[in-house]
């Protein structure tokens, strides 16, 4: 994205000097592409024979990744410059087709033998970034900043006696409850509380790791109301159970009982990962024989499970506004999600998101500005609010023109102040200055606010917080030291953890396939076990990354797992009671993530292991070796193969052809060396009564012959392999920056790899270095990374 200093060239790009007259250089050959004639007539003078451009006129070379349709639309509207009506309709389409196929597209350039250095493409926010930013933007307007719920230890429970007609009769007991699962039977909940009628309020917050729909379910023969992610304020607590002043919307309202029937109610809510959400449950019992209540929840990829435990905290978190609009999947054609495409569905998503956010702001307006409609300062406060909002959304202070354009005019165009606020917010949230994170600077080169914005998108997938903007304003990002210090501070924010957590979900392909297995063959491998394994794996990688050492090598060679009681029953270990604990494993068997049962099960068939899936994962993701797509799709038809063969023998048989072996000579040995683990990742010595052979010979990309006898040999090799380190760095870089690494200078990967090694493979330090490289390219800051080569 070279727009920052190439404004002139962009403007000059399509100047068509004297071209309109149509002095075609050559007569058309019959049979040549009809677009070529159009190209000669309208385009060639400025763009050159093969779209190479014109240095004197500052016309860029024509190449890129847009589709023919997209090029045609652009030509129709803009080309030839100043006279776009000369080339429309069929002509525009045929010339677009010609340009695309002759020299524009990556394929064409490959054919022409042109080596492209990857370019930084302008990008809008990805879906995840958009949702995070809207949440943080709305939150940033809230003058009350309650504590986020970090402290562990259950929810606050307030227990009350009741008297006639369901009215509370004084608080009798405060205690914290770790799980909301109670069977009071025919008793009161505590000494001094009568069994016939009583009520309880539970309050606090809970943390979610992943983004998605969370289901909640209440079960009770009594009365219950559940509030999730509503504004809860200590000073407004109304503890009367039958209060009609409930101004907030309950997620579940099952207040009215029906005889002694135990009623279940459920509802779902969309939440963003890496955040704490407020929760309150009101419960009351009145004359029913039995008192009983249970709250369960189901996370994405999870099963119904008791609500509580480590996820909950008694500290009430602020409400987080979550956009619930739907978006099309972001482009993943390069392997990582990025915002380089816009579509109608995307535009509908951001329109709906803008409308929802406007609704939220209007509803909470008085809280945010601190005064009501009747206050003489109301209008001034609203305008100030809007100015702050737009500034926060654009991630920089506004100049006078911007204040007038985005805020001031709307307050003179209408007398209705709320309508003015709505228009201002809608315009702001649909503006490219908001939607395209790097578009903020009017200056030739990015300033400190752009650098701040890049830092926060790289580390948080969200907008800068107040402190970062203050640092930017006071010049703190103008030195490399200052920037480095700020990046380290930002790493401590839960948003950095949330981003790294989703990085691992992406890098380890955790959502790419279903780890579920044949129930008859693996009866213990229930949905609950799969959920626990996912948690176990994420716990492990997060534990490594956020430890003091933050050592990449630990990811691959650690000699422990995190297991809970349910997992110990399958994988060994002696954990009892709720929660996960660190369990040491046999280092001769297991090695870090390579043998984590979740991944072993993920890269396996539903009824057997899959050395190919395991081998491909190890080759590409861990060792960083290229694999071409298979020349021919061969499906694995187990039932057609001799059932007496071992899995290794079967794979050897079906991949024995020369065409296969160019890749499978790499894949198979890696996969075979994992054969001591069955399809759900249990250690095994034998398969169908025969001893497993996990020994294999593997030739490295450098031609070194290795003798592998298990996962630890692969881990040891990866730890000394620059290609493996490079694969990890590249994965982290593209996930953080959402741009190709080579676009940040030809030596980016080499430099980062050297630094990674020098830091003893510190992952946090790597993140900081990547964030710096991403933020500082082409910036005015002294000591910035080398400027990106043009073109």
């Amino acid at each position: 994205m070279r727009f920052l200093w190439k404004r002139l060239s962009a403007l000059g790009l399509f100047l068509l000097a004297g071209c309109a007259g149509g002095t075609a250089r050559e007569q058309a050959d019959p049979g040549e592409h009809e677009g070529l004639a159009v190209y000669r007539k309208h385009c060639i003078d400025c763009h050159g024979e093969n779209g190479e451009g014109n240095a004197i006129e500052e016309v860029d070379a024509l190449y890129g990744q847009r589709s023919v349709a997209s090029l045609a639309r652009f030509i129709e509207r803009n080309m030839p410059e100043d006279e776009p009506e000369l080339c429309v309709g069929k002509e525009a389409h045929s010339v677009a087709q010609y340009i695309h196929d002759a020299f524009y597209s990556p394929d064409a350039r490959k054919r022409l033998g042109i080596q492209d250095s990857p370019k930084i493409a302008i990008s809008r926010m990805t879906e995840a970034q958009y949702r995070n930013v809207i949440a943080d933007l709305v939150a940033s307007m809230n003058p009350r900043v309650p504590n986020a719920g970090k402290q562990a230890g259950g929810l606050n429970g307030y227990y009350f006696n009741s008297k006639g007609m369901n009215k509370k009769d004084g608080k009798s007991l405060d205690k914290t409850d770790l799980f909301l699962d109670f069977d009071f039977g025919e008793q009161g909940p505590a000494k001094g509380i009568k069994s016939e009628q009583f009520s309880v309020v539970w309050e606090g917050s809970f943390f979610v790791r992943s983004t998605g729909y969370y289901d909640f379910r209440t079960s009770t023969p009594n009365g219950v109301r559940l509030y999730v992610n509503t504004v809860l304020r200590a000073e407004e607590r109304n503890y009367r159970d039958d209060s009609s002043k409930a101004s907030r919307q309950a997620l579940i309202d099952d207040w009215v009982s029906s005889g002694s029937e135990i009623r279940q109610s459920s509802a779902r809510i969309f939440l963003l990962g890496g955040r704490h959400y407020p929760l309150r449950m009101d419960y009351f019992k009145y004359k029913e024989k039995i008192g009983k209540v249970r709250l369960e929840w189901k996370a994405p990829h999870g099963t119904w499970t008791a609500f509580g435990g480590e996820a909950v905290s008694p500290v009430i978190a602020p409400r987080t506004f979550v956009v619930s609009a739907t978006f099309p999947a972001d482009d993943h054609s390069q392997g990582y999600g990025r915002g380089t495409l816009v579509s109608k569905a995307w535009h509908e998503g951001i329109t709906a998101g803008a409308i929802q956010a406007t609704g939220e702001l209007i509803q909470r307006l008085e809280d945010f500005i601190g005064v009501g409609e009747k206050d003489p300062q109301y209008k001034a406060k609203l305008m100030d609010f809007c100015t702050r909002f737009v500034g926060a959304a654009f991630r920089r202070p506004l100049d006078e023109r911007e204040v007038e354009f985005f805020v001031g005019r709307h307050f003179t165009d209408t007398d209705d102040l709320k309508v003015a606020v709505k228009r201002c917010v809608l315009l702001c949230l649909k503006s490219p200055r908001f939607l395209y994170p790097e578009l903020s600077a009017e200056s030739e080169r990015p300033d400190a606010y752009t650098v701040a914005s890049r830092l926060s998108f790289a580390l948080w997938d969200s907008m800068p917080d107040k402190q970062l903007l203050q640092v930017a304003q006071s010049g703190g990002l103008d030195t490399v030291d200052g920037l480095t210090a700020e990046a380290w501070r930002m790493l401590e924010n839960p948003k950095a953890r949330a981003k790294m957590n989703s990085f691992f979900e992406y890098w380890l392909e955790m959502d790419a396939r279903d780890p579920g297995k044949d129930r008859a063959l693996f009866p213990g491998f229930s949905d609950a076990v799969i959920m626990d394994l996912r948690e176990s794996l994420l716990r492990f990688v997060n534990d490594v990354v956020w430890s003091e050492r933050s050592d990449y090598r630990d990811l691959l060679k650690a000699e422990h797992l995190f297991l809970n009681e349910r997992l110990c029953a399958i994988y060994g270990g002696d954990v009892v009671g709720p929660g996960f604990k660190r369990v040491d494993v046999d280092p001769g068997h297991r090695a870090g993530i390579l043998t984590h049962p979740y991944l072993l099960a993920l890269f396996a068939y539903h009824d057997s292991t899959s050395p190919i899936h395991r081998g491909v994962f190890l080759t590409r993701n861990i060792l960083g070796r290229m694999l071409k797509p298979p020349p021919k799709a061969v499906s694995f038809n187990d039932e057609k193969l001799n059932p007496k063969l071992s899995m290794r023998e079967k794979i050897t048989l079906i991949t024995s052809k020369n065409a296969c072996m160019s890749c499978h000579s790499v894949i198979n040995p890696l996969g075979f060396s994992m054969e001591n683990f069955d399809a759900i990742g249990r250690w095994r010595m034998s398969e169908q009564g025969k001893r497993v052979n996990a020994k294999s010979d593997y030739m490295t990309a450098a031609g070194e012959q290795l003798s592998l006898s298990g996962a630890r040999d692969i881990a040891d090799f990866a730890l000394r392999s620059p290609a493996a380190h490079g694969a990890f760095i590249k994965a982290v870089f593209t996930y953080m920056a959402k741009q190709p690494i080579a676009a940040y200078g030809p030596n980016s990967l080499i430099d980062l790899r050297k630094g990674f090694s020098a830091s003893l493979f510190n992952i946090k330090a790597l993140m900081v270095e990547i964030a710096k490289r991403y933020a500082l390219r082409d910036s005015v800051a002294p000591g910035a990374a080398e400027p990106q080569p043009a073109g």
Binding site: F3, N78, S243, S258
Partner: protein, 444 residues
């Protein structure tokens, strides 16, 4: 109306309803064009007001055929509709069981069946839960929806006016079935959204699109040629949205344009009169556009404590309804309150009466709409469930109107049988079977 009225009216006129491509108006009606409406379109509206009536003021002096219907001053607003009116005395809510009179008053009123045992305690009787069966409006809705000639987009709509935000047997009268209360929507803006989807948002979006294109252009100018392509596509999407909004007016398929709703109306007690009129306007409009043929309009709730300051009354309604008969001051206020409800009913009837029956048929919508005004109690201070003040208005069921009838002692289950039969739904029982033995009330 705080929104700049000129702009808004123009916008509403311009936009109509057909930009169905927009995400925020997804699920727009497959609106039945007026001329397609079945000639036999019949409709039911239930209107509820709480806390009993003033029997002396409500009941006419004379009952029976051939006796001219004379309304007391409290019902004066309804004078113009006397010919289409039926007042039914001697019809009792005899459903017993758990729950206090108010609870059973409202929750058994349309269901005709008992409440489940439950945990909601009133001032007397056993605690209770939700009703055990379906309510008559939902029964008719299901009947209409089961046939393509009478089915509509919504089937039924539940309007509320000043219904508090809580769910218990005092606040619900419509039930989809056992333990399935249906919450009325008492926020006109929410109802507007439900009916006409996103019009306000479209208005605001449309008003910023020109600015947005300016901004995109300004930003685009400083980009490289390759990057400009993405912004050009983005601009194209904005232009498409603009065209969709503009073309909406050409394809306006609403037989009746949607009413003008103040998007910023605050749902507070003192705005109740405005909210009431908005809800009634939307109810009539939804029926005129054949979005539904069944609706309910619930004012407050049983035991409702509305303070009707717009009538000069500062006391809570329920408290007033408990005052003894000889409390002249209280009686005066209750008179005003019920006079106001009668006025709201009159407004509803007037709006229906002045809207011609869609489809070029003779008569007005009122001629084909059966309104039933009712209350959970016969009388506030005695909490009686006898002599519920049933006032029927309009022509939906083809009853022989223009009279008052004293049935002396019939169950209200029988009334609901009459209503069902009036719509061609020949059920033999409704609600609790033992109260249906005498069959429908003879109203023909």
């Amino acid at each position: 109306m705080s929104l700049n009225p000129v702009f808004r009216r123009q916008f509403l006129r311009d936009l109509g309803l057909s930009a169905s491509a927009l995400p925020f108006v997804a699920g727009l009606p497959g609106l039945r064009a007026a001329e397609e409406a079945s000639p036999a379109a019949k409709r039911l509206i239930i209107m509820f007001s709480p806390n009993g009536t003033l029997p002396g003021e409500f009941w006419p002096k004379a009952f029976g055929d051939g006796k001219p219907l004379e309304l007391g001053p409290m019902l004066a607003p309804l004078e113009p509709f006397k010919k289409q009116m039926l007042i039914l005395k001697g019809v009792h809510n005899r459903v017993g069981g758990d729950g206090d009179q108010h609870m059973r008053g409202i929750s058994c009123l349309l269901t005709g069946c008992e409440l489940n045992p439950g945990n909601i305690q009133g001032g007397s009787h056993n605690p209770a839960g939700w009703a055990r069966g379906i309510s008559i409006d939902q029964e008719i809705k299901n009947f209409f929806q089961s046939r393509s000639s009478t089915s509509t987009r919504f089937g039924s709509l539940e309007f509320g006016v000043a219904v508090p935000n809580r769910a218990d047997p005092w606040t619900r009268m419509s039930y989809a079935g056992n333990n399935k209360p249906i919450a009325p929507i008492d926020d006109p803006v929410q109802m507007f959204e439900k009916l006409y989807g996103g019009v306000q948002e479209r208005e605001n979006i449309a008003s910023v699109l020109d600015d947005l294109l300016d901004d995109l252009n300004r930003v685009s100018r400083r980009l490289s040629s390759e990057d400009q392509l993405l912004l050009a596509e983005h601009m194209q999407l904005v232009r498409e949205l603009e065209q969709e909004l503009a073309s909406a007016k050409k394809n306006d398929s609403l037989a009746h344009p949607q009413p003008d709703i103040d998007p910023d109306i605050e749902i507070v007690n003192d705005n109740t009169p405005q909210v009431s009129r908005m809800q009634i306007d939307m109810l009539v409009n939804a029926m005129a556009n054949d979005m539904t043929r069944v609706a309910s309009l619930q004012f407050m709730r049983s035991v409702g404590q509305a303070r009707m300051r717009w009538l000069g009354i500062d006391d809570g309604h329920h408290t007033l309804s408990h005052k003894p008969d000889n409390d002249k001051v209280a009686a005066e206020k209750l008179w005003k309150i019920n006079h106001w409800f009668a006025g709201e009913l009159a407004y509803l009837a007037k709006r229906l009466g002045e809207t011609p029956e869609p489809g070029g048929l003779n008569g007005s919508m009122l001629d084909n709409t059966q309104i039933v005004w009712l209350n959970e109690l016969g009388k506030g201070n005695s909490h009686t469930l006898q002599n519920i003040p049933f006032l029927l208005l309009g022509g939906g069921c083809g009853f022989n109107a223009g009279r008052a009838i004293d049935f002396k002692n019939r169950t209200h289950n029988s009334l609901w049988l009459s209503v069902a039969h009036g719509f061609g739904h020949g059920i033999k029982t409704f609600g609790k079977e033992q109260f249906c033995h005498d069959g429908p009330l003879p109203l023909g």
